[in-house]
């Protein structure tokens, strides 16, 4: 048993200092009373709880409660007429309805395609961008500023600009037609087989700056002596990238990979702005399908069931993310 031998710690003090000194036990009753008031471990826990309280309350009110409501809604029949009343429980009828209609399986496939494109491009070009930005100079500063600008742009603005750029008479088709690379405009956003890829590319464009900045921060932490030693050994730039930057950025890669997967999985705004789920249903990914069902068709139960599927995907990735963070901290 341990107890303290000096005044209780104030918030932020090193609690371990106080719990380290063993002393003889005191009388059972009085000792218990004193321990309850003065146990530094309990005091530290209490302080931590107090600090956690606002965030915990915020999470409970704005995340956990809505999630519980979402899950309740997913197993209920909820329409505008019953939104403010008691919800009738229907079990998994909403999930079955979405699945039988074919909308859910198709949306899952589209979501997976979307996520794969966003992740590969986001990670690959993000890493390449970070390698380019690692050196100091005017051009890397300009590129860095440009990336921060792109990253900070609201998706609605970014998506609207890209919608014009990729239009039939937009900049890209202007260049393609001007250079006689095609005999008709490329249907970036209005061909069913191209639209999903186009929106995924734009989504990738938006995530690349974030990934590059995080990678760059990780690369800047690598000891310069490592590169000096490599240069003495005759390593070229590519070998530096392959044998130094890649392995040393691996923990960051793992975290970024999970974040990029989540980002791709929950993407909604670019689809909303650029294609509205079309043409037809060609860009109806899970988040957009959930939106359509809940806020266009006003079948809140069906929309919630689709959203819960999205949530499950994100939840799995969140668990992977947490584990990778812990692993990185452990290393």
């Amino acid at each position: 048993m341990t107890t303290m031998t000096q005044a209780p710690p104030t918030a932020g003090a090193d609690v371990r200092r106080f719990v380290a000194t063993p002393v003889r036990p005191s009388s059972p009753v009085g000792g218990t009373q004193r321990r309850k008031r003065l146990d530094p471990a309990r005091g530290g826990r209490r302080a931590r709880m107090l600090f956690l309280l606002p965030a915990g309350l915020f999470l409970a009110v704005f995340s956990i409660y809505p999630l519980i409501q979402l899950c309740r809604m997913a197993v209920s029949d909820v329409t505008p007429a019953t939104l403010g009343a008691a919800w009738k429980l229907v079990g998994f009828a909403n999930v079955v309805k979405g699945w039988v209609s074919g909308a859910t399986p198709q949306a899952i496939i589209r979501t997976l395609i979307f996520v794969v494109i966003v992740t590969i491009l986001g990670m690959g070009i993000g890493f390449a961008g970070a390698v380019a930005l690692r050196t100091k100079g005017r051009w890397s500063s300009i590129l860095l500023a440009l990336m921060v600008f792109v990253w900070a742009l609201p998706p609605v603005v970014n998506g609207s600009v890209w919608k014009f750029l990729l239009g039939e008479n937009g900049l890209f088709n202007g260049i393609i037609m001007g250079l006689h690379l095609a005999d008709r405009p490329v249907p970036f956003l209005f061909d069913p087989s191209v639209a999903l890829i186009s929106v995924a590319l734009v989504n990738s464009f938006a995530v690349i700056p974030f990934n590059a900045l995080v990678y760059r921060a990780a690369m800047m932490n690598i000891d310069p002596e490592v590169f000096e030693a490599a240069q003495i050994d005759g390593a070229n730039r590519w070998q530096e990238v392959r044998h130094i930057l890649s392995p040393m950025a691996r923990p960051t890669s793992l975290v970024l990979l999970v974040l990029t997967l989540v980002y791709g999985f929950r993407s909604f705004d670019y689809i909303y702005v650029m294609t509205a789920g079309g043409p037809g249903t060609a860009t109806n990914t899970l988040p957009f399908l959930g939106y359509m069902q809940a806020f266009v068709r006003y079948d809140y139960g069906l929309g919630a069931a689709t959203s819960v599927l999205t949530l499950l995907g994100v939840l799995v990735l969140a668990v992977v993310y947490t584990r990778s963070i812990r692993k990185e901290e452990g290393e």
């Binding site: 107090l50 249903t281 266009v296």
Partner: protein, 424 residues
Amino acid sequence: MAPHRKRRGVLTAVATLCALALTACSTGTPSSNGSSGGDSSGSGTVTVWHYFTDKKQISMLDQFKKMFEDSHPGTTVDNVYVPYDQINQKAVNAATSKTGPDIISMNGAEAATLILGGALAPLDDRLGAWKDKAQLPESTLHVLDGKTYALQGYVNLLALWYNEDMLNELGLKPPTTIDEMESAMAAAKAKGHSGITLTGLPNSQSEWQSHPWLTGEGFTYDNLDEAALTKVLTRVHKWAQEGWLSPEATTWDQTVPFQVWAAGDTLFAENGNWRMGTAKSDAKFKYGVTTLPVGSKGRVYLGGEAQGVGAFSKNPDLAWEYLTSTYLSPEGELAAAKTVGSLPARLDTASDSSIASDPLLVPFAQSVAKLGDPYPSSSIPPTAVNDVFVAMGQAWSSAISGQTSPEDAAATALATVKEAIGKK
């Protein structure tokens, strides 16, 4: 005692945080999110939620605001823009927390969503006591279960806008049949122009624009004729394949195609009377309007915005006074006709000489009489309207883009529509 004190401390902290949060939520000042109250004697603020983005429609709202504030000293009209695809949801959400604006200007076809969501107040008593009630045709009232919840001060509908300069260049006249129209589009294409602009967005706007063509072939919600639906989807697919209609239409709402047509390189635009102001300001060529060439069976929806008093308006008397002084008054309806091109709903105003003498409004007025259809169809149950609109809009969009064959698009849409309206 210590545990009790601790629990009490935590509870106090929770209560304090909740109180702070609640205080932050209710500022006590008038908010654009909802009704801001006032007394029923005539002073106060009328908050109007609308989704207008067209500059002429916004100008109409500004005129209504001025009219009302001038005639009702001490009152203020607060026009609040809410995006079209959010307005219903926002109003229903507000109603569940017993708040909301004084007036909601909504797509008349979607009034049922707001009524079922409890966002609108019944107007029967007010309407019964209103001296001009007889001036409003039955078709402009939005009724559910025998109660009237919203009214339309004007009617909007579709017709065929044509580029007269281009028709003259091609040596053609405005088409009266679909064959003539397709020949004209082919001729325009051969000269390097485009044939037609319309919306292909996979939502209710496409359902609205496809209705004249569908009914022209005999498809209605009373007669779910798959062959007719397939024929129309095949036709619009052909328009895209031939290059008469840009497949980019699948990303256009109804505003964009009109702007594209007004740029001058497209022969026709399937669009509405509410674009008249935009045409006058933007089109730098001679143009005209004719009824859609959809034959004797073809119908056009009588659409437009409906206005209702919010169920949780703090000043419903003033809100009703605003409606009857602007949207539903002869002066207001004529102002809407002059500014936007909307057709007055009042019987005494619809026959006004300024309407009958406007060559652009005449084809629309003729369409009301010849082709007018209630919007939405009375065959669709109020709870199924949105499902039907989305299914038909997606089929239209799929056919234009070629995502699926017209046959498959028709079959998929019909399956949803039949389930939604309970027909086999």
